[in-house]
Subunit: 331 residues, 2 copies
């Protein structure tokens, strides 16, 4: 895993706290589904742990992304709102931004990779988003579009407003589940785990927060080792939602401060978890959403038998071929 | 659809009411998950209706069946409990009975067809049930087993205790969803719709209750036409959970009294609905569980645009090959 160090260094400490999460929650709640927390008896039998699922894949647009996006969009100044917003994404952030832009009365342009999951591109367009697909570096193309049309960037993860919004998942989970010993959270750029950890550290301090990354797209692990975000030469995974090529400065600071550890899972563990989740918990998740289960079943996290484990099933916009293959393998 | 009339005639009126449902609910609730009611934005966009899902596939053992089974098992007299119970089922009733028997401190023997979904047979065994598979008529074999071991029958649907337990789905749904104009309920032997209608008729009288049967296994429609239960020569469907070869006397009486109408869906509509449910609502349902969506999307029910529609997603124990084929077709 070759990496190139970036020039900025990570901030010393997170710039957000619980009050930011609570403000984001109040600001956005009329548009956000309170997703169910459900006990998973089948997964409990399989893992020997008491397993609770935060079914965030049932969120509007099929992932947690809308929470952060709306928190950012609803704080735009009037000229920004009128000019529109821009971002880059392989999928879930794109759909959420397009959908959220409508709710917030603005317009979104999203730069997406040429290889993006066509279903995610289609969803983004169907929500009214303007999509620019490219095989050039996304950030480069995005900056051109942004400058040309004077658009406001809504970053997919490295923004305190995005993190604070995502933290709503954590606020709800600690309220709805019984006391959890561990919460396992999928990590792409780190927005979700940063927000969740911000909530859990204060509201349920004895709960460990563990992140999970694909071994082939382990930008947060690389950043933790380097002490600052590093750019991965290559970051590709069947969990396309976790294939961010770098962690953020803000998200790294949150993870350094509040997260217990990050584990890595292999591609086949991710696919297997998609199948098991469909079979034993009846949820059609994408690989990113199944990453917590992959980590639990891998045995890579030291968890007492019988302990209570929370998994955040973060998204459900799965490629049909992957789901089909996963379910036929798992059964 | 050839049919043979049975000799008994249907009772004039249902023998249960809301108080029986409430008693069943109190009796069983410590073992029963309160399954989530979720808005389905993707299905709303697709159907032009405001769609709410009762995600009963997240119930323990993967279907609504445990509710009725436990209500019956927890009322066994001591000698009955000690001797054990018996039933016949193609799947979900079998797993629920095996699982419930453990909770109630008794033992279950279940006669299952030779062609039963192997996953459902396996689940029943894994919950501690004793399975007898046969290619002879199930009722015949069951009676032999019952007589030999002096077991108590827990009927899969035609029993007021089973119906009252299933009604808990209706109690929760009317409490958790906003006012629904229509609730669409899958119909096999009729236990679920009878219980749900018993709740809805009293608690939300302006809500229409519509049943849906596979055209190839339409025992309730046949019974309604004949004015009494009739035995279908053949009842097979991709929705194995709905392929009961006859409606019950009790369930017919409930449907006659409380249900607005029954619509029929084709096999390909059922498979299509499984795929759409996974894609747009992220739920891995079996075909029986997707039947309400199949009926909604078929256009066979007259529902105003924008009306609010409740679908009971009754089970998730889907054959993996079916799920795989459904998702790749739907996307």
């Amino acid at each position: 895993m070759d990496s190139v160090k970036e020039q900025d260094s990570a901030p010393a400490a997170p710039v957000l706290d619980l009050s930011d999460l609570q403000a984001a929650y109040e600001r956005t709640k009329k548009f956000i589904a309170r997703t169910p927390t459900v006990p998973a008896a089948g997964l409990a039998a399989l893992s020997g742990r008491d397993v609770w699922l935060k079914a965030e894949l049932l969120q509007a647009t099929g992932s947690f992304k809308l929470r952060g996006v709306l928190n950012a969009l609803l704080q735009l100044a009037e000229p920004q709102r009128l000019a529109g917003v821009v971002s880059m994404s392989a999928g879930n952030h794109a759909s959420a931004l397009a959908y959220g832009a409508r709710l917030a009365g603005t317009r979104a342009t999203i730069v997406m990779p040429q290889y993006a999951n066509p279903a995610k591109v289609g969803a983004t367009v169907s929500y009214g988003g303007e999509v620019v697909q490219t095989d050039r570096p996304l950030a480069e193309v995005m900056t051109e579009v942004q400058d040309e049309h004077k658009l406001t960037l809504v970053h997919p993860f490295d923004d305190p407003r995005i993190i604070a919004g995502a933290g709503g998942v954590g606020l709800e989970f600690v309220e709805d589940a019984p006391k959890l010993d561990v919460i396992i959270v999928p990590v792409g750029g780190g927005g979700l785990i940063s927000g969740v950890a911000a909530a859990v550290r204060v509201l349920s301090p004895q709960t460990r927060v563990i992140g999970v990354e694909p071994a082939w797209a382990a930008g947060m692990s690389a950043a933790l080792s380097a002490g600052q975000p590093v750019h991965l030469e290559k970051a590709q995974s069947v969990a396309d939602g976790l294939a961010a090529p770098f962690a953020g400065h803000h998200t790294l600071a949150c993870v350094q401060s509040w997260v217990d550890s990050i584990v890595l899972v292999e591609e086949q563990e991710l696919v297997g978890a998609v199948g098991v989740l469909a079979r034993d918990a009846k949820l059609a998740a994408e690989a990113a959403g199944a990453a917590g289960l992959a980590a639990l079943l891998s045995g890579k996290i030291d968890i007492e038998p019988g302990a209570s484990v929370g998994l955040i099933i973060s998204g459900g916009n799965v490629d049909p071929a992957l789901l089909a293959s996963a379910v036929t393998t798992a059964y």
